[in-house]
Symmetry: C2
Subunit: 297 residues, 2 copies
Amino acid sequence: MMSKKRPFRKVVIVGVGLIGGSIGMAVQKKCLADTVVGVGPKAEELKQAVERKAIDEYATDSRMIRKAVEGADLVVLAAPVAELETAARELAPALTAETVVTDVGSVKGPLVHRLEGCFSSPGRFVGGHPIAGREKSGVAAASAALFSGALCILTPTPRTAPNALETVKRFWEAIGARVVSMDPDAHDRILAAVSHLPHLVAYALVNTVLELQSRNGDLLSYSAGGFKDFTRVAASSPEMWRDICLFNRENLLAVIEAYEKTLDRLKRLMVEGNSEGLRREFERAKDVKEKLRERIP
Amino acid sequence: MMSKKRPFRKVVIVGVGLIGGSIGMAVQKKCLADTVVGVGPKAEELKQAVERKAIDEYATDSRMIRKAVEGADLVVLAAPVAELETAARELAPALTAETVVTDVGSVKGPLVHRLEGCFSSPGRFVGGHPIAGREKSGVAAASAALFSGALCILTPTPRTAPNALETVKRFWEAIGARVVSMDPDAHDRILAAVSHLPHLVAYALVNTVLELQSRNGDLLSYSAGGFKDFTRVAASSPEMWRDICLFNRENLLAVIEAYEKTLDRLKRLMVEGNSEGLRREFERAKDVKEKLRERIP
């Protein structure tokens, strides 16, 4: 019996939660690798990942990890952002000069340069960030279709080997993502505005309502559509968002400042009773939804 | 052939858009009235309302309106908030002392007292606010099921006639809403927090991203889940939200102040690098979604 040669012999996924697990399931579904190995601290979670067919086998302790990584042609770091550097340092000695390494962290910038520095062949590391996620976390919520049609931003640097970039690009495209490349710092500036600020604003709003509730009695019973959308955004992983806020602090503080200026402008229009000014502001915001619909199919 | 007596002879709906149209469709579906009459300035929209079976007949000019209202036992004011007082004054002379009048405005407070003052029997007016809506507006988006399971807040005052309140309560329950009553000012304080603030924050966020986009190039192409939720909230009617911001200005400015304090606290935690403090804030917000799920089935 003949079988088509798969693009990868061994793909190693470090951190098999929602994103890592979904990558594993997509790799298996698309028959991209002979073996998918999961690496993580919790055997229980990794067993669940095997049951969900996200990975074929797994390793939890350092000795096992060296063995597990051996012969890997692609390593995907899908651990929490704050643990990526430690994970990279632990794996690095077991990799060959040919192994391509990528990550899925929500922040890039300086972290990409630090991750490059963990490997004897820095050019084999390619930073990546698939813009996909769900409220729920963990491999139980993983799905082979999570990246279907999603955008994946790759962040090569002057050190990046062109063929490593090409490998990672083809990998993401094979599991359904649309890939764009940009500078790691540009990534962090853009995501600060379109992702990190909205999450921080949602957290601030939900906690404000909680504080008003503790002073003024039951508010939550009267919550309408708008507020519910915010609670959904604010239901994301507290640990992940803590890390994002700290890793991308400078860019996030800059966009918060811009946001506070807009809020001040709206307050001033209210205080002045500037009816037409308010209408214009709201009209401008309304159009964005249509613009997004045109852009993202 | 016997037919069951319907609770109302004639229901008049002033302003047959999304809310007014949905009320009409629900009244017709539940066979609550012998006749439903629509009143509004645009014949085109009212014709569409007849086609959608939201109303049986309609009136556009003052002379016709007097005639249309004659014999009405319930009048629902569903025009934009800023036009309610004018509409009430126009109708008042045509009403009998028995006609019950209610409205669906998103702000209550002083407006309720002003509307009461429009009628020779102020006790027959009962302020109301069904917490239901959609992004789309107009009778084309109306639905008989819009109020099914929705909360409707009634805001009686010391002047309100108990049997008028009872009539309006039963009316909303008959079209599927859960009814609660509260003081008009309490309504405005609560809605400022759980509805008006979230919308203002969404408008501010979307416009901030638009401004950053004009300076930093394309951001919208990278917008992820969080931001898209905000653009949905900010796609609501600019005219409606302008009116809400101005009518409920004092309460809204007070909750904006509370919100700015929360945002300042989050910024300080970021600047200090207070990892555990940030995690705690985000953890607290995360729980609200679960709490809401328990409350609102």
